[in-house]
């Protein structure tokens, strides 16, 4: 049985339905991210699990028991906020000890536990400092230590890295994941940053307009997006519209030429469909090989790779190549032919 079960959750604020028919099951120790643009309802789902919002429909069960009747302070959760929310009048150690003091744990037990937590986040030296004396990254680590100090059964993180600098964000997300693995806490993580979600999660829930569009492992989400929204939200995407070839279903005829379709493609001959191809899946090829023909409009040097903007019919396709793979003949305004491996051509359903 799942550790946490969210069934048919729904929530409205006034006339706006913010979460609709949301279902999710988390296994014990699993790290699941809720990913989506602003306003997609991910934070609301998190706050409902925490107990700060009450769902209008649906149920939330932790370890089999419904928690809807319980107030936030009874649910045994740990929460990390985007703005850290450290108590300014307490030192770092006192902040971390807060949950234990509230639970009336004996002082003799609190101190070693606090030290253990601070060691885990690497801030033992800051024990006696006050929050205003710490940097953003340090404050967030204290917030994490505070949230897990009383051994909650669920850890909830509400965009904890959004307020931090890029470099610190990258460093901290590795730390958070490592600590989560070490403690084995079931974790729900809200973010709008797909890189974070992809790199940290066991599974990702891509949300849009209050609904879960797709739930899957990072690999599934990235390589087999179920809807156009998911495909567009994760990574960059080229959308190619065309018509399935009448004579040979193995090809898609479109403005610039034709694209080979995978054998397992589910389409009727002559059907008008849209497919998606990632920029790194498109490769230049000799003109005689068929494929898509277009004109190079712009070349962007992006360090690790080079991005070509190719106009192909009405659309502009983005093509990412390693610099050394580019032939010297690629010039702005010159012609180019592109091809893609059939397994990289993704059917877009919606």
């Amino acid at each position: 049985m799942a550790f946490i079960n969210l069934t048919s959750l729904g929530k409205s604020f006034g006339p706006t339905q913010v979460v609709r028919d949301f279902n999710l099951a988390l296994g014990k120790g699993e790290f699941v991210s809720l990913l989506g643009p602003s306003g997609c309802g991910k934070t609301t789902v998190l706050r409902m699990v925490a107990g700060f919002e009450a769902p209008d429909q649906g149920d939330i069960r932790i370890e089999g028991q419904s928690v809807l009747r319980q107030r936030a302070n009874q649910r045994q959760i740990g929460m990390v906020f985007q703005s850290y929310a450290l108590f300014p009048n307490l030192t770092v150690a006192e902040n971390v000890a807060f949950g234990l003091r509230v639970a009336k744990v004996a002082s003799a037990e609190i101190t070693p536990r606090v030290n253990e937590m601070l060691d885990m986040v690497g801030l033992a030296a800051m024990k006696a400092r006050y929050p205003y004396q710490l940097s953003g990254g340090q404050q967030q680590r204290v917030a994490l230590a505070r949230a897990v100090a009383s051994r909650p059964r669920v850890l909830l993180l509400d965009e904890p890295l959004s307020a931090l600098d890029a470099k610190i964000r990258v460093a901290l997300r590795t730390e958070i994941r490592a600590i989560q693995r070490q403690l084995g806490i079931t974790t729900l993580f809200v973010t709008h940053d797909q890189e974070e979600a992809l790199s940290m999660s066991d599974r990702i829930v891509v949300m849009n307009g209050g609904r879960a569009e797709q739930i899957g492992t990072p690999e599934e989400i990235y390589n087999r997006p179920a809807t156009r929204f998911v495909a567009g939200f994760i990574g960059t995407l080229n959308v190619i519209e065309g018509q399935v070839g009448r004579e040979a279903r193995a090809f898609l005829n479109c403005a610039g030429g034709r694209l080979a379709l995978p054998g397992t493609f589910d389409a009727v001959a002559g059907e008008k469909i849209a497919v998606a191809v990632r920029p790194q899946s498109l490769r230049p090829c000799p003109a005689e090989a068929g494929g898509l023909h277009g004109i190079v409009r712009h070349v962007e040097f992006l360090g690790a790779f080079t991005r070509l903007h190719v106009s192909c019919g009405q659309a502009t396709l983005l093509v990412d190549c390693f610099a050394r793979d580019l032939a010297a003949t690629i010039t702005v305004g010159g012609p180019i032919s592109l091809t893609a491996a059939t397994e990289d051509v993704l059917r877009l359903s919606a």
Partner: protein, 290 residues
């Protein structure tokens, strides 16, 4: 002097020229008079230094006036702090419509300046022997408030009048501090298992404490230095320290001009000290609100 040095001197003179009028004015009309009074507290009529003036403060009528001033200032500061905190709390986080908050803040901005003669008249018109409330209490409720020993021109009457500008002042000071109590702190505390009362006890009140104490100090200083309201309300009959000083300045009723200096010095020390406490606590509070 070399022409370069002369030029530099010219430049620094012209630099300072812009602020000279201000400093001269402040010196002549603010600092010098105050210093004169402070020094006078320590000088004998013949010019020599002495502490006798200060010890004169500890004699009969002056001491009781000092005590009366302390009592009313502490009392109105305390009541004003509590009442102002309740009103500010009700209007910022009590779930009342936001428009009420703006109205209350605007009113407080005006009312905190109401101290003085018109305020005294307003209270006489309301709670005096023929005042509206007195009359209504007698006609509608059958209660004669003056029979209970209440007298507008007494300590309790003055307290009620002082609260009229003390409470708004408190609201003005504490509302921003209440706003500074971030909602996430409460949620964080809840997520850690704390009840509402525990949150207030362990986080909110400690964070508010410097602002509360500082406001109390400011209210104390405010009440201590108030003269006009008391005089308009009670004539010169109520002997609080500023009124004694007033009478002394007017007509040397104490038969010793330097005693006046001593009284003034005592007032400066008390109000200045209270203000310093307020400023120090405010700096501390703001540091946490970063």
């Amino acid at each position: 002097m070399s022409s370069l040095a002369l030029h530099r001197l010219e430049r620094s003179i012209s630099l300072w020229l812009g602020v000279v009028p201000f400093f001269v004015f402040a010196f002549v009309f603010l600092i010098l008079p105050t210093l004169h009074v402070v020094i006078g507290a320590f000088t004998r009529p013949d010019g020599g230094p002495t502490l006798a003036n200060l010890s004169g403060l500890l004699s009969g009528p002056i001491l009781s006036a000092l005590w009366a001033s302390l009592r009313i200032s502490l009392w109105t500061a305390f009541l004003g702090t509590v009442a102002g905190l309740l009103v500010a709390g009700a209007v910022t986080r009590g779930g009342l419509p936001p428009a009420l908050r703006d109205a209350v803040m605007t009113f407080s901005g005006v009312a905190s300046n109401f101290a003085g003669v018109p305020l005294a008249f307003a209270f006489i018109a309301t709670l005096g022997r023929l005042g509206l409330v007195t009359v209504l209490a007698r006609d509608w409720l059958g209660i004669n408030i003056y029979a209970t020993g209440f007298n507008l021109t007494s300590f309790s009457g003055l307290t009620m009048a002082y609260l009229y500008f003390q409470i708004p002042l408190m609201v003005l000071i504490i509302a921003p501090a209440l706003d500074g109590l971030r909602g996430e702190w409460r949620e964080a505390a809840e997520s850690l298992g704390a009840s509402g009362a525990q949150y207030w006890r362990m986080v909110a009140l400690p964070v508010l404490w410097p602002s509360l104490l500082g406001a109390f100090a400011l209210l104390f200083a405010n009440a201590f230095g108030a003269v006009a309201t008391a005089m308009a309300l009670t004539g010169s009959s109520l002997s609080i320290l500023p009124i004694i000083l007033f009478a002394q300045i007017r007509g040397d009723v104490l038969q010793d001009p330097h005693l006046g200096y001593a009284i003034a010095f005592a007032m400066i020390v008390l109000t200045g000290g209270a203000n310093l406490i307020y400023i120090w606590l405010r700096v501390r509070a703001e540091r946490w609100q970063k």
